[in-house]
Amino acid sequence: MIEYTPLIPLLPLAAFTINILFGRYVRRAASWISILASAGACVLSYPAILAVAQGGHFLKSWHWLTLGNYKLQFGYLLDPLSATLLFVVTLVGTLIQIYSVGYMHEDPRFSRFFAYLSLFMSAMLTLVISNNYIQFFMAWEVMGLCSYLLIGFWFEKDSAANAARKAFLTTRVGDVGFFLGILTLFVAAGTLNFADLESIQPGPAVLAAALLIFCGTIGKSAQFPLHVWLPDAMEGPTPVSALIHAATMVAAGVFLVARSFVLFARFPLCMGMITIIGTITAFMAAFIALSATDIKKVLAYSTISQLGFMVTALGLGGLSAGAFHLMTHAFFKALLFLGAGSVIHGTGTQDIRQMGGLFKKMKHTGATFLIAALAIAGVPPLSGFWSKDEILVTAFNSGNFLVYGILTFTAFMTSFYMFRLVFLTFFGTPRDSHVHAHESPAVMTGPLWILALGSIAVGLPGSPWMHHWFQNFIHGRAAAEGAHHAEETLNLTVMGASIAAGLAGILLAAWMYLGKQKRSEWILQKFRPLYELSANKFWFDEIYAAWIVRPFQTFAQFLFDFDQRVIDGAVNQTGFATLFASRIQMGFDKYIIDGGVNFMGLFTQFFSRALRRIQTGFIQHYLLFVFLSILLFIFIELRQ
């Protein structure tokens, strides 16, 4: 069955082709074409995953392009890392597409929505199984395109259209860094294959390549300082937010770090940089999430923060911890977004201040949302607990206690903002009488329950109960015996602190939002400057607008004026100068040269006119002239 691996991305690609070209004819069947393709990919990937779990490692490639002496080979690479992502992407992707049938059922561009989703699935799966950086980058960019198209799916809204552009451009800044990193790597090491990374001789050029490649992660995984696009990306339909902007595409940046791990791990500077970026991101985004009032914005900042966790884990050398959290996060964050979508679908609003008491009316949504919230808050034995604990252990064992402290505090903030959201949305009393909530149809709640099951269970393979099977799996069995023993040992102190942080956050949220309303306002007054900082998102958008976007536009305008006035001006001036010179020449020609000629003519004419007067035709006159002339000559002769 392994030989069918190329079909995994090709099936969704076929679905995309059908839906985009014949959307007018297939209409609502578009959803089933996409879902079947996605489910087919899911089915096809299980034999591959199983084979990898049994210790297999598969690589097959075909010659695609010749770069000088180097033959660039496209193909697939199946190893524990790609198998994990295959499992997550095909399963979560299929569930979200099923959910979308319900969520998008009234949309006039129904078939186009599914076409885009299929294209996205195809690109993501290509990326997951790719064996080299170019194929990876190509799929990476196509995912960026899908993100652009889907954020701007409701393009009639100005906000959606702007958000789409912002997302594409912001990530492209990171992507150009990534691209330069690939070029640097190729020039320095002469290879682009993931399989060859281990044998590369480290050097300054390779370090530069590693740092540049990481820029791709910063853009795609919305890390500080390029995180600004992800919250705006929530303008897209909610299933898109769940699939692309939470569970899979944004995790591709983390996957990139994991893929390049053997390269990055050679350079402490690079790993340090990754850790710093990840930690800043985790903390900052969680801090902003504390005050967000849009249900999807809370989740968006939460995604950024959790991605920061994963990046930090990788930066600290915790490959399995990062990959583990990537997997669990995909399940519970997809569930959170789909739950939010169900709430939006049922209430017609995204503002949590207008919600409240929804649990009674939306039992399925509420229950599954609560499970996901518990998972992300890190309550044992749900999946998020195990993976977050792994990251905290990695931080603790690395001896970097500042990072460890920040991450633990962020874990506390995570559970606080998450339960603030849960309590404001589902508990208490309804705050807005205009909102008439109703539960979503089964096509939407079904996937919720399956994802809820996943949110509970996918942590178990990485738990001590299963002897950290997942961690061993990621490292391959041989490596588990050696370097990574530290990760496996139970650290009860860290675990205790992690549980305490999670519970403290829940309790604080309950105290502030379940009791009297005064409490939250009192806290708000007390911490006004901090609240301002959080509510204004550290003024990132304003700073970028003033210091980057506007100068950029001004410079463009300046160059255009320069082009018109100076460069084109010079061309026109040359033209005018030539014209002027030719006028002078013309004047010279007309008055001096031609004037001279005409003068000669006039001169001749004048004298001829004078002479004509003596040409009278009377013979007597001529004889008189002869006579007078002879007299004149005689007179002259005689004087000498």
């Binding site: 392009l65 002496n69 070029l183």
Partner: protein
């Protein structure tokens, strides 16, 4: 049939043009049919070269040589290799599609199609001539019909634009003519024959002088910064099909000239001028991108984007590596298909709305979904989205450039971000947002217009997915040429 294939390619349009002269003005549909037939036959003939052209052979193929002016050793000498092959295909295809795209033109059709076909003969000859004298003749043959096509069928400032185009390029070509004569008199025996000239090794000082003379001729055509300002004016004023020809084929004549003449004839001078070349390339890429960002006129934006994209061709040439050259030649081809398509699309919109001000539009995606899809496709190709052809050539150029000079190439990458910025801004302004009420009755793109675009889309997608198919025709010739110049193959 294949004996005089190249001559047939060159002169079939001329034959069509003469035929049109014999037909009364009122027979408009017949004139159109003849024009379409002529360009169609040329396209088929170009496809026929696939059959006889051997991609593995670096030398010229399908050679035809005859004495033309024996006193000056001038020959009618044409031949095709891996460099001219893609250009011939491009010219044949673009000419056919733009001919189809011309059917909307109503005024003075007889003259229009006569000049149009004459133009095609000139372009084909330019790409196939191997005798410098012959090359110069074809080069100038292109200029005259172009002048009239812009000056008669253009927009409100057509006369200014046409004169500017004509004089500017003519000034450049005269310098080139001086260079050609200098070559003639310094070669031994005196010759215009490319294959003979390339065997001469001239002194570096002489090379530099003549290189510069050729440079002005070609640089104005490309156009290289700072000689580019005729381009936006010419594009804005030219009728749509002529814009397509201008961007799709004419600009390539400049870079083709560099590749065919400047580099092999003056190898030492090319290496000497390399840093300046790379610098001008990068300035063009970044500068063109910035200026495109500041445009509100749709067509002007595409025109400036051409300046930016043609900069990549120059960067690839300056790299003097196999990747860079492969990329440069492929970028010439791709720019022709992509920007040609964009100009067609601008024309589609302009024919309906009679404005090109991007701010006047908005929300057309709801009104014209097929048009929007196609426009987005071409924009993505232009901004270098992987999977479409523009990415492959820019990737190869940047890889080659990076092997030559890292900082310069890194700066050129700014052009990629800028391309995304201006193209997405265009999409944002024209297609997205709420629909402007004024355009509620704008009709969707019609079948004829779609027909002109689909072949380009297929090519863009095919090259993007499987670039080997076309590179395999180019590489041997480029390799041989590169070795002559002294570049690196790795």
């Amino acid at each position: 049939m294949t004996a005089h294939l190249l001559s047939l390619i060159i002169f079939t349009p001329l034959l069509g043009a003469l035929l049109i002269l014999l037909i009364p003005k009122s027979q408009e549909s017949l004139i159109k049919q003849i024009a379409l037939l002529a360009t169609g036959i040329v396209f088929l003939l170009a496809l026929l070269t696939f059959q006889t052209f051997n991609p593995g052979q670096a030398d010229f193929q399908l050679i035809e040589k005859a004495v033309w002016i024996p006193q000056f050793n001038v020959h009618y000498f044409v031949g095709m290799d891996g460099i001219s092959f893609p250009m011939i295909l491009l010219t044949a295809l673009i000419s056919l599609l733009a001919c189809l795209g011309s059917f909307g033109i109503q005024e003075r059709q007889k003259e229009y199609y006569f000049l149009y076909l004459l133009l095609e003969t000139g372009m084909m000859g330019t790409f196939l001539a191997l005798d410098l004298f012959l090359f110069y003749v074809f080069w100038e043959v292109v200029l005259v019909p172009m002048y009239f096509l812009i000056g008669i069928w253009g927009g409100p400032r057509r006369e200014y634009a046409a004169i500017k185009f004509f004089l500017y390029t003519l000034a450049g070509s005269l310098l080139m003519l001086l260079g050609i004569l200098a070559l003639y008199f310094n070669s031994n025996p005196h010759t215009f024959d490319w294959t003979e000239l390339v065997k001469n090794s001239f002194a570096l000082g002489f090379q530099k002088m003549v290189f510069l003379a050729f440079f002005f001729g070609f640089a104005i055509k490309v156009p290289v910064f700072p000689f580019h300002t005729w381009l936006p004016d010419a594009h804005v004023e030219a009728p749509t099909p002529i814009s397509v020809i201008l961007a799709g084929v004419l600009l390539k004549m400049g870079t083709y000239g560099f590749m065919r003449f400047s580099y092999p004839l003056f190898p030492e001078a090319s290496v000497w001028f390399r840093p300046f070349f790379a610098l001008l390339a990068v300035i063009g890429i970044v500068y063109g991108g910035f200026v495109a960002l500041a445009q509100t006129d749709f067509k002007k934006m595409v025109a400036y984007s051409s300046v930016s994209h043609m900069g990549f061709v120059l960067l690839g040439l300056a790299a003097l590596t196999q990747n860079g050259w492969n990329g440069a030649l492929l970028q010439m081809f791709n720019h022709g298909t992509i920007t040609g398509g964009l100009f067609l699309l601008v024309g589609v919109l302009y024919d309906r709305a009679h404005t090109r001000d991007m701010n006047a539009f908005g929300g057309l995606s709801a009104q014209m979904p097929v048009y929007s899809g196609i426009l987005i496709f071409f924009s993505l190709a232009s901004l270098g989205l992987p999977g479409l052809s523009g990415f492959i050539s820019e990737f190869l150029v940047l890889l080659g450039g990076y092997q030559y000079h890292k900082t310069t190439t890194a700066l050129a990458c700014l052009g990629i971000i800028l391309a995304a910025a201006y193209l997405l801004l265009m999409i944002r302004r024209v297609l997205l947002g709420p629909l402007n009420k004024k355009w509620q009755s704008l009709p969707e793109i019609n079948t004829r217009e779609i027909f002109t675009l689909v072949p380009l889309m297929i090519l863009i997608l095919a090259i993007g997915i499987y670039p080997k198919a076309i590179l395999h025709y180019m590489t041997p010739a480029l390799e041989a040429l590169l070795l002559k110049v002294g570049g690196t193959l790795s």
